[in-house]
Amino acid sequence: MTLIKLMYEFMKTGLFSVGGGLATLPFLYAISDKTNWFTHSDIADMIAVAESTPGPIGVNMSTFAGFKTSGVIGGVLASFALALPSVIIILIIAKFLNKFKDNPLVERTFYGLRPASIAMITAAGLNVAKVALIDLDAFSISHNLNDLFIYKAIVLGVIIFIAQRRFKVHPVLLIAFAAIAGIIFKF
């Protein structure tokens, strides 16, 4: 039963996440909210794992969730479920490739889809920030604004942002750097 539910949820994610990688995030948060397969922190960790291992985040997350709920079989089936809708859609499009590319209806649909896609990626970013940059627990005990923000995390974030913008450092290196900073400064 769990396997079927697992496949259904990831098939839905595969079918509706337009715009690659991070577009699967809003779906993963929705799955996390209604099941106990993985937590918001698991998602934040898995984004890091996905950025530093081969393969897209959607596949990584479905493998992870499937494995956690139903072992190796679950991991494999959840990933196949995620992939299935897009394989079918591409097989259909491959038959009408040129018509699809220049179709004004397709262009109009994407005029609406693109902003929606990055709006939901932004919301996913907010979810990660809630875990990474602020400490709601400490704040709700002390009601002191000083306790709300994790200052060393914010400083690290600014450093990473600048390093990426100015020197185009590869994400894998940034993640390794952040992990070491986390260990040294006890985040």
């Binding site: 494995f67 649909t109 932004t122 974030g157 940034l174």
Partner: protein, 176 residues
Amino acid sequence: MSELWELYKTFAAIGSVTFGGGYAMLPILERELVNKREWTSLDELRDYFSIGQCTPGIIALNVSTFIGEKRAGVMGAVAAGLGFLTVPIIIILIIAAFLTNFTELEIIQHAFAGVRVCVCVLIVQAVMRLWKSSIVDKLTLALYLIIFMLNAFAKISPALLVIASGLLGLFIRRKY
């Protein structure tokens, strides 16, 4: 049969070196598929990419499916797709087996807390990168803000939001 095996092998190799997904893949695909194997042209590859970007699912997998289909029909697409998925699935299975035991360690917790900060920054930069091609006028800006609110605070199903905004684009944008 050997053609299918060739497709599987090639995409398994590609799938094991693509870090960071989508956009990072183009140069690797270009080297492997256009220069080395001559399975497709660069123009064709770019077309696959732009379609893969605006259809559901993972861009890299969509591109694999296209090439597989072109080489050996439906079975070719399946072989290429399976090949692409093999290594990432195995790696995560190994990591997941480790993570459940090792996240208890304090040092791993500190490391991941640091890494989450980095993930925040990477998401911000992804949004900045996509902004120019997505938010092209006041209407798309308004749509961005509304969908953000509905998704972040009202917790409305993302599938519903994707369908609604696609339909909105279809009916609002008439000048073409």
